[in-house]
Symmetry: C2
Subunit: 414 residues, 2 copies
């Protein structure tokens, strides 16, 4: 049997044409993209992706949680499947690379293997996972694949007014059927993902590619401070039980705490809302959602305890009461050492300057890692900008990452 051609490379112009066409779907002013999960733009992107799969002569597959795949079958029907991909959905007015580049690179790899007449020992599957960004439920699609989403998870979601269910129905997803999306782990060889770093390390160190060793754990809390509505003009400072002041103090203190005591941790509060939201009423209620991350499980737990205590301190300082509810928790995930070695081997063979990195953002790879070996490589993000229209990766780095993935896939399955 002929040696597999590990020197096979991707078709860069074709990948570029895909990238530009996809960036038009949900394009915003200022060069960004809004393809919120389950929105018209998201559905249009999936439809476009399905067309590209068919065009390439690959098998179109979708599942009961809206994940969409192109498959290049092995001659061995009982073979396992090597999955690769990312997500087409975005944050509001996000960048063009986040998620999209990984889906397109995966598809391009399958196209090249097929064009080269290579018969892979495993089925190859290029997949787009639903709602990675959490417009509705973070990493919904990959959680469905590992069997962690039930109809109750949909009903119990924060979108309790039924909007989530309605959006799923519009996208052709039946909550009661989502459990069927679960794959048998025995059939999965592994999962590989290419993604932009969304941080500055590769860019600043001058490396061309990052091999992910750990994906951070993440915890999300809803925090609500309760005070007392009162007249804004006639209530003295000593009498006020101003919930918004408590929330504001907490936001400032939480950031200080993490910066000072948890240098490898991060915290974010993206949103505050107050009631009754009247300019002339002292706010009786203020709610915020905070999320915090750390690559070490024990330290992540410490951060949680300290932040909860901080909510109580701020409540006491402003004569408020406070309620906290943990809404999400994910343990840190270690990427498959075997896949790390395969990526390193591919980088050496192609003379790619690579380094080990931890991922500070959540990815489908950390979910798939719970079912089968998962591996991830990062492309440099210029100035680390992401979740922003100015997100940018040099095309030569896209080519390098795509070729490393292709080589790794061939190392594993050719």
């Amino acid at each position: 049997m002929a040696q597999p051609n590990l020197e096979l490379t991707i078709n860069s112009e074709r990948l570029r044409a895909d990238f530009d066409a996809l960036a038009e779907i949900g394009a915003t002013m200022g060069g960004g993209v809004s393809r919120l999960a389950l929105s018209n733009e998201d559905l249009a992107a999936r439809s476009w992706f399905a067309d590209r799969i068919e065009e390439a002569g690959l098998l179109v597959k979708d599942d009961e949680v809206g994940n969409l795949s192109g498959v290049l079958s092995s001659d061995d029907a009982d073979a396992k499947t090597l999955m690769m991909g990312s997500h087409l959905d975005t944050v509001p007015n996000g960048g063009r690379y986040d998620g999209a580049i990984g889906v397109l690179i995966a598809l391009e790899c399958l196209r090249r293997v097929k064009e080269a007449g290579i018969k892979p020992k495993s089925h190859l599957e290029a997949i787009n996972f639903t709602d990675e960004e959490g417009t509705w439920k973070s990493l919904l699609g990959s959680n469905g694949v590992i069997g962690k989403i039930s109809a109750d998870d949909i009903s119990d979601s924060i979108h309790a007014n039924g909007a989530f269910r309605a959006a799923l129905f519009r996208a052709g997803i039946q909550p009661a059927e989502i459990y069927r999306a679960r794959r048998d782990p025995e059939t999965i060889l592994g999962y590989l993902e290419v993604h932009i770093e969304q941080g500055k390390r590769l860019h600043e160190c001058g490396h061309e590619l990052g091999i992910v060793d750990w994906i951070v754990g993440r915890t999300t809390y809803d925090v609500t401070f309760f005070g007392e509505a009162a007249h804004a003009g006639t209530t003295t400072a000593e009498e006020r039980r101003d919930a918004l002041q408590g929330a504001a103090a907490f936001i400032i203190s939480a950031h200080k705490l993490i910066t000072q005591e948890f240098p490898r941790g991060v915290v974010n509060c993206g949103h505050v809302s107050a009631k009754p939201e009247s300019y002339n009423v002292v706010p009786s209620e203020a709610s915020l959602r905070m999320e915090f991350r750390h690559p070490e499980a024990d330290t992540l737990q410490d951060m949680e305890a300290r932040l909860i205590r901080l909510t109580q301190d701020c409540a006491r300082d402003y004569r408020l009461s406070v309620g906290t509810q943990r809404v999400l928790h994910r343990e840190p995930e270690q990427m498959s050492p075997e896949f790390v070695r395969e990526f390193e081997r591919a980088c050496r063979a192609a003379n790619v300057r690579c380094m080990s990195v931890a991922s500070y953002s959540g990815h489908n790879a950390q979910i798939m890692n719970q079912m089968a070996p998962a591996g991830m490589i990062f492309l440099p993000s210029v100035d680390g900008i992401s979740h922003n229209p100015k997100e940018y990766t040099e095309w030569r780095h896209v080519e390098i990452g795509a070729n490393v993935l292709l080589r790794t896939v061939l190392q594993l399955t050719a």
Copy 2:
């Protein structure tokens, strides 16, 4: 001619029945009231008020800005009009007394004068002013009466999406006709208002009634901090330009500044909003509305300058830029010394324990004061609670206030 009967008193049971019936309109769970200006509940309350006016055999009058009045005409058609009243609209889930008690007391005074067969030397008018609370535009109705509202004020309002115009049309108000609501100052003898104090001074001092000498000036600003959207997980603290942190720091600092350096001033921030409002994106924009008050014009101006400087300090501390826009300004208003004397005379004659007070909330009286002499008396608020369902005034204080108003009206016009 017979001496006017200054000992005439109000019909307390009838006033109580009015109060209870009105409290049902827009009643919320927990005993509060929501009759937001121009809402269905507000229109229902006006309709109810019009019915009470007709029932009493008084003339129903409305004007082009939605103010609704009952009139007891003098025999002298050329007589001036002594106006009295308040507002039926409320804040969201507010109390039953705020504004409503003043309208009902005014109506009851007209009813008693008519029943007693007294022929007033001035026309007497019991008026409900539109949108005192500023759901759409603070003190809209009284500003219309003094000729300070134009169609442009409606178009330029913060509700630039047309919602304000739509609400006006639903209430039968044409923006282009609002200017007609202006009264000729020569026809107005003065304006008297009874209102709950919404503060604690009367309650704590054990006085039965307050005679208002000054109404505070008030300034309102929109403040927007601008940062940069970025990935919540991968952006380090040093790199963040988090607009919500800037806004939070400003809220805390503004309250500290006022408490420490402007003891007779107050500041409130009832509302913050952040963009893009995504849990995993560092907020690029955060907007808040703040209002601040002081009884002295110069000091109010100082507060403004200091708070603007504070927005710049907070912006600098968090590497943000900030924009501020003044959206409202009202000078402090001194109540008519003549009316203060008449109120004092009425209190002495009726043995009412009264004191002078400044008003820390805005009222229709401060607007009417720009056109004709205005006077205001306060009823004690238990624990100073207002803008809250727990707002409460003892009924004996309502009776006392109503009788002082009636006596004062008779002193002026009988």
